[in-house]
Symmetry: C2
Subunit: 306 residues, 2 copies
């Protein structure tokens, strides 16, 4: 049996990029420390922040909530809120909601809930059904859902008067997105993903990603070793072929050259401090008044089609 | 038979990213026009430039030489020079040299030749042999050769008093390098690859890449339809596993989503105009006096090991 690098117990986790072997307890500590480090490094939180945690009920969001709850409990003037959005994806959304509510009540955190139906008058199922088989369908359920969720999260967070929205994007999500935006040639979206909480428009609630330095494998292990219940079923619409290609490539490269995902994130962070977002490019949507880079926001453009 | 988009002849080439079908003549014209456009767009050349063409004798360099010769013949005050470097890779280098000399005499262009043996006192074969099987060998012949070629090309170009060095990097090379530097987290090397000819140190001859917008498939077709002889045998040391992984990924993505390589290049070009190189970071090597980002240049560091 190999022993833990930090104590004498049996190691259960191996981190290839650092060569560390860790026992259960030291591994959990290590993840929490790295989250705390990312929060400090990127100045994600202030001591009196009202923090909205985007909780879907999936693995990563449950891990995020639990770690943030642990960190936040040391700061008496801060306060956590859970923001849960019901996309309206038949059974999947119902299971998600159950999980989210369970964690909210276990940790005694205010649970704020909204839904696509309430905000847009349509569930995602209804949107997808109407999209049919034509060009609209081709755009993919994930890109519809992304647009609708981003807006729903922002308006709900603003109404709740939180200072920031914490989302559960991990290292894998972040590096995939960087590569995807590069392959799409989308400089604006590439830059917009900066790790620093940015107040680029008075109506836009800054977003933070405390798990952005944690590999997906480790959020999975964290949930497992902490015995955190979550909805482990994949979304029935998940079929993001492009992201899957990028995920496969990055995982293949990472297994050959451990640390590659960190290389990408570190380079991206250096780049994003050198390039600033043109704040004038954010205006208010002529239909709904929400912040938008175009005359009409993406959500209104999308809903107009149906 | 499908007919050419631009004339009535039979189409022989299909360009998936633009949807164009072209006959032999219109395809060759199209490649030449795009090279000319890249030269103008990135202000690669001035009308009275002395241009050093790095000619290995391989396909891309032969294509570059022929297109530049055609373009340059319209400018009476400019002059082309061929710079050929003999790496000393047994038969491979001998074949390359034959090809390079053949094209030089056919086009009646001054042929300047040097070799690793003359400059460094060692052929690449000797360097690789000495590197043996240890850690040095692992670094790969291509990375040794890259370091030695870069310096040899620069000093020879400077002695020839040319205003720039034209290299035959095509769209595939460029996009692979962008992704590789991202995966390695190497911001300096990422930025250094800018398309604009840059005079960042008095001893560094600016480098231009007129073929950077031409996909590798098209340089191959250009050589084929122009019947340009070249050394088609691969270098015996070619085994750049990392670049091969990236090449495979990019070709797979490009075949699914034609235009992806252009997306990457265009995004990179936008980025590189927003970020400038810190000129102070270039100093002179304490051993050879050549420009270097470190105290000792990479070539001197490498040769010191043997």
């Amino acid at each position: 049996m190999t022993s833990c690098k930090k104590c004498s117990k049996n190691a259960v986790v191996f981190l290839p990029y650092s060569g560390e072997k860790l026992c259960r307890k030291c591994f959990l500590n290590s993840v929490e420390k790295r989250v705390q480090k990312a929060i400090s490094r990127y100045k994600m939180l202030k001591i009196s922040d009202r923090i909205g945690v985007a909780l879907s009920g999936g693995k990563d969001s449950v891990v995020l909530l639990n770690i943030l709850h642990k960190i936040e409990s040391k700061f008496l003037r801060s306060k956590l809120f859970i923001i849960h959005i019901d996309e309206g994806i038949s059974k999947y959304s119902i299971n998600n909601q159950k999980m989210a509510k369970k964690h909210a009540s276990e940790l005694d955190i205010t649970f704020i809930q909204t839904s696509y139906k309430k905000i847009y008058g349509k569930t995602l199922d209804e949107v997808i059904k109407k999209a049919g088989e034509g060009e609209n369908r081709r755009l993919g359920a994930c890109s519809y859902c992304g647009v609708l969720r981003r807006k729903a999260l922002n308006t709900t967070a603003r109404e709740t008067n939180v200072d920031c929205i914490a989302t559960a994007h991990n290292l894998d999500d972040e590096t995939q997105t960087i590569i995807l935006n590069l392959l799409r040639g989308d400089l604006n979206r590439l830059i917009r993903n900066s790790p620093l909480p940015q107040k680029i428009h008075p109506k836009l609630v800054p977003r933070i990603k405390p798990l952005r330095t944690i590999p997906e494998k480790e959020t999975t292990l964290y949930a497992y070793y902490k015995n955190l219940s979550h909805n482990s079923k994949p979304c029935p619409y998940t079929a993001e072929a492009y992201r899957d290609d990028v995920r496969f490539f990055l995982n293949q490269i990472e297994s050959k050259r451990p640390g590659t995902k960190y290389n990408i994130l570190n380079l991206y962070d250096k780049l994003s401090t050198k390039i600033t977002i043109n704040q004038n490019s954010i205006q208010e949507c002529i239909i709904c008044g929400e912040p938008s880079v175009e005359e009409k926001c993406k959500a209104c453009q999308l809903l107009e089609k149906f």
